[in-house]
Protein backbone atom coordinates (compact mmCIF):
# COMPACT_ATOMS: atom_id res chain seq x y z
CA UNK A 1 0.00 0.00 0.00
CA UNK A 2 1.52 3.30 -0.98
CA UNK A 3 1.88 6.19 1.45
CA UNK A 4 -0.89 8.32 0.04
CA UNK A 5 -3.43 5.48 0.13
CA UNK A 6 -2.39 4.60 3.64
CA UNK A 7 -2.75 8.20 4.82
CA UNK A 8 -6.18 8.28 3.22
CA UNK A 9 -7.26 5.13 5.06
CA UNK A 10 -5.81 6.54 8.28
CA UNK A 11 -7.93 9.66 7.96
CA UNK A 12 -11.09 7.79 6.85
CA UNK A 13 -10.76 5.35 9.72
CA UNK A 14 -10.39 8.22 12.18
CA UNK A 15 -13.49 9.76 10.64
CA UNK A 16 -15.46 6.58 11.31
CA UNK A 17 -14.17 6.47 14.89
CA UNK A 18 -15.71 9.91 15.29
CA UNK A 19 -18.94 8.78 13.62
CA UNK A 20 -19.25 5.79 15.96
CA UNK A 21 -18.68 8.08 18.95
CA UNK A 22 -21.14 10.73 17.73
CA UNK A 23 -23.54 7.94 16.69
CA UNK A 24 -24.29 7.35 20.35
CA UNK A 25 -25.80 10.85 20.44
CA UNK A 26 -27.51 11.18 17.07
CA UNK A 27 -31.08 10.00 17.52
CA UNK A 28 -33.75 9.93 14.84
CA UNK A 29 -37.31 10.23 16.14
CA UNK A 30 -39.18 7.20 14.84
CA UNK A 31 -42.13 6.00 16.85
CA UNK A 32 -42.10 6.31 20.62
CA UNK A 33 -38.42 5.35 21.06
CA UNK A 34 -35.90 7.39 19.04
CA UNK A 35 -33.37 5.15 17.36
CA UNK A 36 -29.71 5.74 17.97
CA UNK A 37 -27.34 5.37 15.05
CA UNK A 38 -24.18 4.07 16.71
CA UNK A 39 -24.41 0.44 15.62
CA UNK A 40 -25.24 1.53 12.10
CA UNK A 41 -21.94 3.40 11.91
CA UNK A 42 -20.12 0.30 13.15
CA UNK A 43 -21.72 -1.69 10.32
CA UNK A 44 -20.93 1.06 7.80
CA UNK A 45 -17.33 1.17 9.00
CA UNK A 46 -17.18 -2.57 8.36
CA UNK A 47 -18.52 -2.57 4.82
CA UNK A 48 -16.69 0.57 3.75
CA UNK A 49 -13.30 0.27 5.47
CA UNK A 50 -12.85 -3.51 5.22
CA UNK A 51 -11.85 -6.01 7.93
CA UNK A 52 -8.50 -4.65 9.09
CA UNK A 53 -9.16 -0.92 9.07
CA UNK A 54 -12.65 -1.63 10.39
CA UNK A 55 -11.20 -3.58 13.29
CA UNK A 56 -8.71 -0.76 13.93
CA UNK A 57 -11.61 1.68 13.86
CA UNK A 58 -13.68 -0.06 16.53
CA UNK A 59 -10.52 -0.86 18.50
CA UNK A 60 -9.56 2.82 18.64
CA UNK A 61 -13.09 3.80 19.59
CA UNK A 62 -13.08 1.40 22.54
CA UNK A 63 -9.54 2.41 23.43
CA UNK A 64 -10.26 6.12 23.65
CA UNK A 65 -13.39 5.39 25.67
CA UNK A 66 -11.40 3.13 27.96
CA UNK A 67 -8.69 5.76 28.21
CA UNK A 68 -11.16 8.24 29.60
CA UNK A 69 -12.44 10.28 26.67
CA UNK A 70 -16.19 10.67 26.96
CA UNK A 71 -17.27 8.81 23.82
CA UNK A 72 -19.58 6.12 25.18
CA UNK A 73 -23.35 6.58 25.30
CA UNK A 74 -24.41 9.37 27.63
CA UNK A 75 -21.01 11.03 27.42
CA UNK A 76 -19.43 8.44 29.65
CA UNK A 77 -16.14 6.62 29.49
CA UNK A 78 -13.75 4.41 31.30
CA UNK A 79 -13.46 0.89 32.56
CA UNK A 80 -16.67 1.25 34.56
CA UNK A 81 -18.69 1.56 31.36
CA UNK A 82 -16.80 -1.01 29.36
CA UNK A 83 -17.19 -3.65 32.06
CA UNK A 84 -20.58 -2.39 33.20
CA UNK A 85 -23.96 -3.95 32.31
CA UNK A 86 -23.92 -2.76 28.71
CA UNK A 87 -20.23 -3.39 28.10
CA UNK A 88 -20.90 -6.59 26.17
CA UNK A 89 -22.50 -4.66 23.33
CA UNK A 90 -19.45 -2.41 23.08
CA UNK A 91 -16.98 -5.30 23.09
CA UNK A 92 -19.24 -7.17 20.65
CA UNK A 93 -18.55 -4.46 18.07
CA UNK A 94 -15.05 -5.90 17.64
CA UNK A 95 -16.01 -9.33 16.26
CA UNK A 96 -19.02 -7.73 14.58
CA UNK A 97 -16.98 -5.31 12.48
CA UNK A 98 -14.46 -7.95 11.48
CA UNK A 99 -16.99 -10.60 10.50
CA UNK A 100 -19.31 -8.15 8.73
CA UNK A 101 -16.43 -6.71 6.72
CA UNK A 102 -15.11 -10.17 5.89
CA UNK A 103 -18.47 -11.43 4.63
CA UNK A 104 -19.19 -8.24 2.71
CA UNK A 105 -15.80 -8.44 1.02
CA UNK A 106 -16.05 -12.15 0.26
CA UNK A 107 -19.52 -11.82 -1.26
CA UNK A 108 -18.56 -8.93 -3.51
CA UNK A 109 -19.98 -5.82 -1.78
CA UNK A 110 -23.41 -5.96 -3.39
CA UNK A 111 -26.54 -4.45 -1.88
CA UNK A 112 -28.11 -7.82 -1.04
CA UNK A 113 -24.94 -9.44 0.29
CA UNK A 114 -24.12 -6.38 2.36
CA UNK A 115 -27.49 -6.76 4.06
CA UNK A 116 -26.73 -10.42 4.87
CA UNK A 117 -23.30 -9.42 6.23
CA UNK A 118 -24.81 -6.71 8.43
CA UNK A 119 -27.57 -8.96 9.77
CA UNK A 120 -24.96 -11.49 10.86
CA UNK A 121 -22.84 -8.69 12.33
CA UNK A 122 -25.78 -7.35 14.35
CA UNK A 123 -26.52 -10.80 15.73
CA UNK A 124 -22.91 -11.05 16.89
CA UNK A 125 -23.34 -7.82 18.86
CA UNK A 126 -26.36 -9.30 20.65
CA UNK A 127 -24.51 -12.59 21.06
CA UNK A 128 -21.94 -10.71 23.10
CA UNK A 129 -24.23 -8.13 24.71
CA UNK A 130 -27.13 -10.20 25.99
CA UNK A 131 -25.21 -12.90 27.93
CA UNK A 132 -23.03 -10.15 29.40
CA UNK A 133 -26.11 -8.23 30.53
CA UNK A 134 -27.47 -11.46 32.02
CA UNK A 135 -24.30 -12.18 34.00
CA UNK A 136 -23.75 -8.66 35.31
CA UNK A 137 -27.35 -8.07 36.37
CA UNK A 138 -28.15 -11.72 37.29
CA UNK A 139 -31.32 -11.57 35.18
CA UNK A 140 -32.78 -14.71 33.68
CA UNK A 141 -31.87 -15.31 30.07
CA UNK A 142 -35.43 -14.69 28.86
CA UNK A 143 -35.54 -11.40 30.70
CA UNK A 144 -32.16 -10.31 29.33
CA UNK A 145 -33.33 -11.02 25.78
CA UNK A 146 -36.59 -9.20 26.47
CA UNK A 147 -34.90 -5.98 27.63
CA UNK A 148 -31.57 -6.24 25.80
CA UNK A 149 -32.51 -7.42 22.33
CA UNK A 150 -36.19 -7.54 21.28
CA UNK A 151 -36.89 -3.79 21.65
CA UNK A 152 -34.08 -2.93 19.23
CA UNK A 153 -34.66 -5.42 16.42
CA UNK A 154 -37.07 -3.33 14.34
CA UNK A 155 -34.79 -0.31 14.56
CA UNK A 156 -31.85 -2.50 13.57
CA UNK A 157 -33.64 -3.80 10.51
CA UNK A 158 -34.36 -0.23 9.38
CA UNK A 159 -30.78 0.81 10.04
CA UNK A 160 -29.38 -2.15 8.08
CA UNK A 161 -31.51 -1.36 5.03
CA UNK A 162 -30.55 2.31 5.22
CA UNK A 163 -26.86 1.44 5.67
CA UNK A 164 -26.88 -0.81 2.61
CA UNK A 165 -28.22 2.01 0.45
CA UNK A 166 -25.85 4.53 2.00
CA UNK A 167 -22.84 2.31 1.34
CA UNK A 168 -23.92 1.78 -2.24
CA UNK A 169 -24.08 5.54 -2.88
CA UNK A 170 -21.00 6.40 -0.87
CA UNK A 171 -18.53 3.86 -2.30
CA UNK A 172 -18.11 5.51 -5.71
CA UNK A 173 -17.87 8.95 -4.08
CA UNK A 174 -14.99 8.09 -1.77
CA UNK A 175 -13.37 5.87 -4.35
CA UNK A 176 -11.49 3.33 -2.20
Amino acid sequence: MNNSKQLKMTVYTSLFVAFIAIGAFIAIPIGPVPIVLQNMFVLLAAIILGPLWGLACVGIYLLIGLAGLPVFAGGTSGIGKLFGPTGGYLLGYLPCVFVTAGISKALGKKLSTDIIAMVIGSLIVYGAGVPWLKVVTSMTFEKAVAVGMYPFLIGDALKIIAAAFIAKTLRPVINL
Partner: protein, 251 residues
Amino acid sequence: MASLTPFSFRAGKSALHLLDVRCKFFIICLISMTMLKASLPAGFLYFLILMFLFKKAGLNIFSTLNSIKYFIVLLFFVFAARAFSMKGDMLFSFYGMSITKQGVNEGLLVAFKFFLVMLTGIIFSATTKPSCVKSAVQWFFKPVPFVPEKRLAIMISLSIGFMPVIALQARLISDAGKARCADLEKNPVKKIIHLVLPLLKKTFLSADNLVLAMESRCYSDDRTDPEFTPSGKEILFLAAGFVIALSFIYF
Protein backbone atom coordinates in the same frame (compact mmCIF):
# COMPACT_ATOMS: atom_id res chain seq x y z
CA MET B 1 -18.29 18.72 21.71
CA ALA B 2 -19.02 20.50 24.96
CA SER B 3 -22.77 20.11 24.71
CA LEU B 4 -22.49 16.41 23.98
CA THR B 5 -20.11 15.41 26.68
CA PRO B 6 -20.73 16.58 30.20
CA PHE B 7 -17.46 15.05 31.39
CA SER B 8 -15.09 16.58 28.91
CA PHE B 9 -11.94 18.29 30.07
CA ARG B 10 -12.25 21.27 32.43
CA ALA B 11 -9.16 23.45 32.57
CA GLY B 12 -7.67 23.86 36.00
CA LYS B 13 -4.52 23.92 38.07
CA SER B 14 -5.26 21.29 40.74
CA ALA B 15 -2.71 18.61 41.65
CA LEU B 16 -4.72 16.12 39.61
CA HIS B 17 -4.62 18.39 36.58
CA LEU B 18 -0.87 18.72 36.80
CA LEU B 19 -0.10 15.08 37.56
CA ASP B 20 1.81 13.24 34.83
CA VAL B 21 -0.87 11.64 32.69
CA ARG B 22 0.89 8.25 32.56
CA CYS B 23 0.92 8.10 36.34
CA LYS B 24 -2.74 9.13 36.53
CA PHE B 25 -3.65 6.53 33.94
CA PHE B 26 -1.83 3.78 35.81
CA ILE B 27 -3.50 4.65 39.12
CA ILE B 28 -6.96 4.69 37.51
CA CYS B 29 -6.39 1.23 36.04
CA LEU B 30 -5.05 -0.09 39.34
CA ILE B 31 -8.01 1.19 41.33
CA SER B 32 -10.65 0.17 38.80
CA MET B 33 -9.29 -3.39 38.64
CA THR B 34 -8.94 -3.94 42.37
CA MET B 35 -12.35 -2.36 42.98
CA LEU B 36 -13.92 -5.73 42.17
CA LYS B 37 -12.65 -7.08 45.48
CA ALA B 38 -13.43 -4.03 47.59
CA SER B 39 -15.60 -4.26 50.70
CA LEU B 40 -18.26 -1.72 51.58
CA PRO B 41 -16.21 0.22 54.20
CA ALA B 42 -13.14 0.40 51.93
CA GLY B 43 -15.36 1.53 49.07
CA PHE B 44 -16.95 4.17 51.27
CA LEU B 45 -13.57 5.47 52.37
CA TYR B 46 -12.53 5.70 48.73
CA PHE B 47 -15.79 7.52 47.99
CA LEU B 48 -14.82 10.17 50.56
CA ILE B 49 -11.40 10.53 48.97
CA LEU B 50 -13.07 10.94 45.57
CA MET B 51 -15.35 13.65 46.94
CA PHE B 52 -12.31 15.49 48.26
CA LEU B 53 -10.60 15.22 44.86
CA PHE B 54 -13.76 16.40 43.08
CA LYS B 55 -13.78 19.49 45.24
CA LYS B 56 -10.04 20.07 44.76
CA ALA B 57 -10.41 19.76 40.99
CA GLY B 58 -13.21 22.32 41.01
CA LEU B 59 -15.95 19.90 39.88
CA ASN B 60 -19.52 20.09 41.06
CA ILE B 61 -20.60 16.69 42.37
CA PHE B 62 -24.32 17.43 42.03
CA SER B 63 -24.19 18.44 38.39
CA THR B 64 -22.03 15.38 37.78
CA LEU B 65 -24.63 13.11 39.38
CA ASN B 66 -27.32 14.82 37.39
CA SER B 67 -25.52 14.17 34.15
CA ILE B 68 -25.10 10.46 34.84
CA LYS B 69 -28.68 9.97 36.01
CA TYR B 70 -29.39 7.33 33.36
CA PHE B 71 -26.42 5.36 34.52
CA ILE B 72 -27.73 5.59 38.06
CA VAL B 73 -31.11 4.24 36.92
CA LEU B 74 -29.25 1.35 35.32
CA LEU B 75 -27.45 0.75 38.60
CA PHE B 76 -30.79 0.59 40.36
CA PHE B 77 -31.79 -2.26 38.02
CA VAL B 78 -28.52 -4.02 38.79
CA PHE B 79 -29.31 -3.66 42.48
CA ALA B 80 -32.89 -4.86 42.07
CA ALA B 81 -31.91 -7.88 40.01
CA ARG B 82 -29.45 -8.98 42.70
CA ALA B 83 -31.81 -8.28 45.56
CA PHE B 84 -34.53 -10.45 44.01
CA SER B 85 -32.44 -13.28 42.77
CA MET B 86 -30.05 -14.06 45.66
CA LYS B 87 -31.00 -16.90 47.96
CA GLY B 88 -30.80 -16.32 51.73
CA ASP B 89 -32.73 -14.91 54.70
CA MET B 90 -35.99 -13.51 53.46
CA LEU B 91 -36.69 -9.84 54.28
CA PHE B 92 -40.17 -9.68 52.73
CA SER B 93 -41.93 -11.10 49.72
CA PHE B 94 -44.82 -10.32 47.42
CA TYR B 95 -46.40 -12.01 44.40
CA GLY B 96 -44.04 -14.91 44.86
CA MET B 97 -40.92 -12.73 44.61
CA SER B 98 -38.74 -12.46 47.64
CA ILE B 99 -36.09 -10.00 48.70
CA THR B 100 -33.31 -11.42 50.79
CA LYS B 101 -30.90 -9.75 53.14
CA GLN B 102 -27.91 -11.21 51.32
CA GLY B 103 -29.39 -10.03 48.05
CA VAL B 104 -29.79 -6.46 49.26
CA ASN B 105 -26.25 -6.38 50.61
CA GLU B 106 -24.77 -7.91 47.49
CA GLY B 107 -26.83 -5.67 45.18
CA LEU B 108 -25.88 -2.53 47.06
CA LEU B 109 -22.21 -3.42 46.97
CA VAL B 110 -22.14 -4.22 43.26
CA ALA B 111 -24.06 -1.08 42.32
CA PHE B 112 -21.89 1.04 44.60
CA LYS B 113 -18.70 -0.34 43.04
CA PHE B 114 -19.90 0.41 39.51
CA PHE B 115 -20.77 3.89 40.71
CA LEU B 116 -17.27 4.40 42.15
CA VAL B 117 -15.54 3.18 39.00
CA MET B 118 -17.73 5.55 37.04
CA LEU B 119 -16.82 8.52 39.24
CA THR B 120 -13.14 7.59 38.95
CA GLY B 121 -13.44 7.67 35.17
CA ILE B 122 -15.21 11.02 35.29
CA ILE B 123 -12.56 12.66 37.42
CA PHE B 124 -9.89 11.39 35.04
CA SER B 125 -11.70 12.74 31.97
CA ALA B 126 -12.36 16.06 33.62
CA THR B 127 -8.77 16.69 34.66
CA THR B 128 -6.92 15.35 31.61
CA LYS B 129 -6.53 17.10 28.29
CA PRO B 130 -7.45 14.94 25.28
CA SER B 131 -4.02 15.59 23.81
CA CYS B 132 -2.42 14.19 26.98
CA VAL B 133 -4.62 11.09 26.79
CA LYS B 134 -3.38 10.60 23.26
CA SER B 135 0.26 10.99 24.33
CA ALA B 136 -0.22 8.51 27.17
CA VAL B 137 -1.83 5.95 24.88
CA GLN B 138 1.09 6.35 22.50
CA TRP B 139 3.55 5.86 25.37
CA PHE B 140 1.84 2.76 26.73
CA PHE B 141 1.63 1.19 23.28
CA LYS B 142 5.27 1.76 22.48
CA PRO B 143 6.40 -1.67 23.73
CA VAL B 144 3.40 -3.44 22.13
CA PRO B 145 4.41 -5.15 18.88
CA PHE B 146 2.36 -4.74 15.67
CA VAL B 147 0.73 -1.53 16.88
CA PRO B 148 2.07 1.57 15.09
CA GLU B 149 1.71 3.73 18.20
CA LYS B 150 2.49 7.01 16.47
CA ARG B 151 -0.17 6.52 13.84
CA LEU B 152 -2.53 5.46 16.60
CA ALA B 153 -1.90 8.77 18.36
CA ILE B 154 -2.58 10.74 15.18
CA MET B 155 -5.79 8.80 14.60
CA ILE B 156 -6.97 9.60 18.11
CA SER B 157 -6.27 13.30 17.52
CA LEU B 158 -8.05 13.27 14.20
CA SER B 159 -11.14 11.50 15.49
CA ILE B 160 -11.40 13.90 18.43
CA GLY B 161 -11.13 16.74 15.93
CA PHE B 162 -13.82 15.26 13.68
CA MET B 163 -16.39 14.89 16.46
CA PRO B 164 -17.47 18.53 16.82
CA VAL B 165 -17.41 18.94 13.02
CA ILE B 166 -19.75 15.97 12.57
CA ALA B 167 -22.05 17.14 15.36
CA LEU B 168 -22.28 20.61 13.81
CA GLN B 169 -22.91 19.26 10.31
CA ALA B 170 -25.56 16.87 11.62
CA ARG B 171 -27.39 19.82 13.16
CA LEU B 172 -27.12 21.89 9.96
CA ILE B 173 -28.34 19.04 7.77
CA SER B 174 -31.21 18.27 10.09
CA ASP B 175 -32.22 21.95 10.17
CA ALA B 176 -31.99 22.21 6.40
CA GLY B 177 -34.23 19.15 6.22
CA LYS B 178 -36.75 20.64 8.63
CA ALA B 179 -36.80 23.87 6.63
CA ARG B 180 -38.07 21.79 3.72
CA CYS B 181 -40.62 19.89 5.80
CA ALA B 182 -38.59 16.69 6.18
CA ASP B 183 -40.65 16.06 9.31
CA LEU B 184 -43.51 14.97 7.07
CA GLU B 185 -41.47 12.06 5.76
CA LYS B 186 -42.95 8.92 7.29
CA ASN B 187 -40.60 6.29 5.84
CA PRO B 188 -38.01 5.67 8.58
CA VAL B 189 -35.40 4.26 6.22
CA LYS B 190 -35.61 7.42 4.11
CA LYS B 191 -35.39 9.50 7.28
CA ILE B 192 -32.11 7.84 8.21
CA ILE B 193 -30.71 8.10 4.69
CA HIS B 194 -31.65 11.78 4.36
CA LEU B 195 -29.65 12.62 7.45
CA VAL B 196 -26.71 10.24 7.21
CA LEU B 197 -25.89 10.25 3.52
CA PRO B 198 -25.28 14.01 3.18
CA LEU B 199 -23.44 13.91 6.50
CA LEU B 200 -21.07 11.20 5.28
CA LYS B 201 -20.58 12.80 1.87
CA LYS B 202 -19.80 16.18 3.36
CA THR B 203 -17.40 14.89 6.00
CA PHE B 204 -15.62 12.55 3.62
CA LEU B 205 -15.04 15.51 1.35
CA SER B 206 -13.45 17.46 4.17
CA ALA B 207 -11.49 14.32 5.11
CA ASP B 208 -10.08 14.35 1.59
CA ASN B 209 -8.99 17.95 2.13
CA LEU B 210 -7.41 16.96 5.42
CA VAL B 211 -5.41 14.22 3.68
CA LEU B 212 -4.04 16.86 1.31
CA ALA B 213 -3.31 19.31 4.11
CA MET B 214 -1.44 16.63 6.03
CA GLU B 215 0.54 15.62 2.96
CA SER B 216 1.45 19.22 2.27
CA ARG B 217 2.76 19.47 5.82
CA CYS B 218 5.07 16.50 5.22
CA TYR B 219 3.08 13.95 7.24
CA SER B 220 5.13 10.94 8.20
CA ASP B 221 4.63 8.06 10.63
CA ASP B 222 8.13 8.64 11.92
CA ARG B 223 7.53 11.70 14.06
CA THR B 224 8.81 13.45 17.16
CA ASP B 225 7.64 11.78 20.39
CA PRO B 226 5.32 13.65 22.74
CA GLU B 227 6.75 15.13 25.90
CA PHE B 228 5.53 14.61 29.44
CA THR B 229 5.84 17.10 32.25
CA PRO B 230 5.84 15.41 35.67
CA SER B 231 4.58 17.63 38.48
CA GLY B 232 6.87 16.07 41.12
CA LYS B 233 3.99 14.59 43.09
CA GLU B 234 3.84 11.36 41.09
CA ILE B 235 5.49 9.24 43.80
CA LEU B 236 3.01 10.53 46.36
CA PHE B 237 -0.01 9.75 44.20
CA LEU B 238 1.37 6.36 43.18
CA ALA B 239 1.88 5.45 46.83
CA ALA B 240 -1.65 6.57 47.67
CA GLY B 241 -2.98 4.58 44.73
CA PHE B 242 -1.25 1.43 45.93
CA VAL B 243 -2.53 1.93 49.47
CA ILE B 244 -6.09 2.22 48.17
CA ALA B 245 -5.67 -0.80 45.91
CA LEU B 246 -4.28 -2.88 48.80
CA SER B 247 -7.09 -1.79 51.10
CA PHE B 248 -9.57 -2.97 48.45
CA ILE B 249 -7.92 -6.36 48.29
CA TYR B 250 -7.37 -7.01 52.00
CA PHE B 251 -10.32 -5.34 53.76
